[in-house]
Subunit: 189 residues, 2 copies
């Protein structure tokens, strides 16, 4: 697989920051004000995040231009994710502030592809939301010291009791390349 | 309280539809392509919905212009809601399709103001999401026949076991008037 044009552009434009972290090699789509990245521990296959390039914690911190760009990107990425992962629906969710469950203080929209009955064995249709908080800590955990994770993982024993193993940097980069190629097939509207 | 200018404009512009329902008197904000409405059974005080004026089920059905307008409206309404309800954070969530929990087939973003510990007695921080599906049926239930509700309410016994009583049309209209007045104080950016 040759390197997608988009990936070359992203690497040139980087480093790209997610909160205090550098996530350039996880990014698969870049616009003037936004980017999309793959996840360390997706709740479901195809679970990705869309963020503004400027590191700000709250939606109200965004300019109108950044707001439009972010959600036009969400819509375009969501369409691609639904197609590529064969989904029938999507959850789109923002934890806007710490008291809403946000752990990395940088605006990010979760896009999670859904299929009928996909979480029946893991707590039901809406278990996806309970998993968000565990997931959201995951990118932070890449950089955390050993042993810092335990406190977080115990917060949702009902639904997050399976072992979600962190993916390798190579696996995430491979998915980013694949999704970058898929985004290049999408209409720009 | 005299009728806010916005309410007069909304009543003139109506009827406004949420899926198959007419919700004109619950609407407190109107833009060229979007509107915001108060909820029959808010999960938390200040829980409101923002929808495109065109009745379409999925985010990808929106034009780029409608998408920008919808999320600029979400951002503006969210800022007002956080101020008026004294919140510190917000949940912003879209159930985009039936398999993601959508029950009324018309795009709508939930905006839910949050405070530290606000759901500690009702299942914890993320219980808000489990309640969404019960809530989302509520507007439908206004128009449903007696006895059609039971099946839905039993889906989330863990967190939705308190009796959330439907508000009266007068109470919702009063809140819509109040929020319309508050929106008039917001900057347009």
């Amino acid at each position: 697989m040759s390197i997608p044009t988009t990936i070359t552009q992203i690497l040139k434009a980087g480093p790209i920051h997610f909160g205090p972290f550098t996530v350039t090699t996880q990014v698969f789509h870049l616009t003037p004000h936004s980017y999309a990245l793959v996840n360390l521990k997706p709740i479901l296959p195809g679970h990705v995040l869309i963020s503004p390039r400027r590191v700000v914690p709250r939606v109200t911190d965004l300019t109108p231009t950044e707001t439009s760009d972010l959600f036009l990107t969400v819509r375009r990425v969501a369409r691609m994710i639904e197609r590529v992962y064969g989904a029938s629906s999507l959850n789109i969710a923002i934890q806007d502030g710490a008291d809403a469950g946000q752990s990395v203080p940088h605006v990010h929209a979760h896009v999670i592809p859904r299929k009928r009955g996909d979480l029946d064995s893991r707590g039901g249709m809406d278990a996806v939301y309970e998993m968000l908080d565990g997931e959201e800590g995951d990118l932070r955990d890449v950089f955390a010291k050993d042993g810092e994770e335990g406190g977080r993982r115990t917060r949702f024993p009902r639904v997050d009791n399976e072992e979600r193993v962190a993916r390798s940097a190579e696996e995430m980069e491979g998915e980013a390349w694949r999704l970058a190629g898929e985004m290049e097939k999408e209409d720009l509207d």
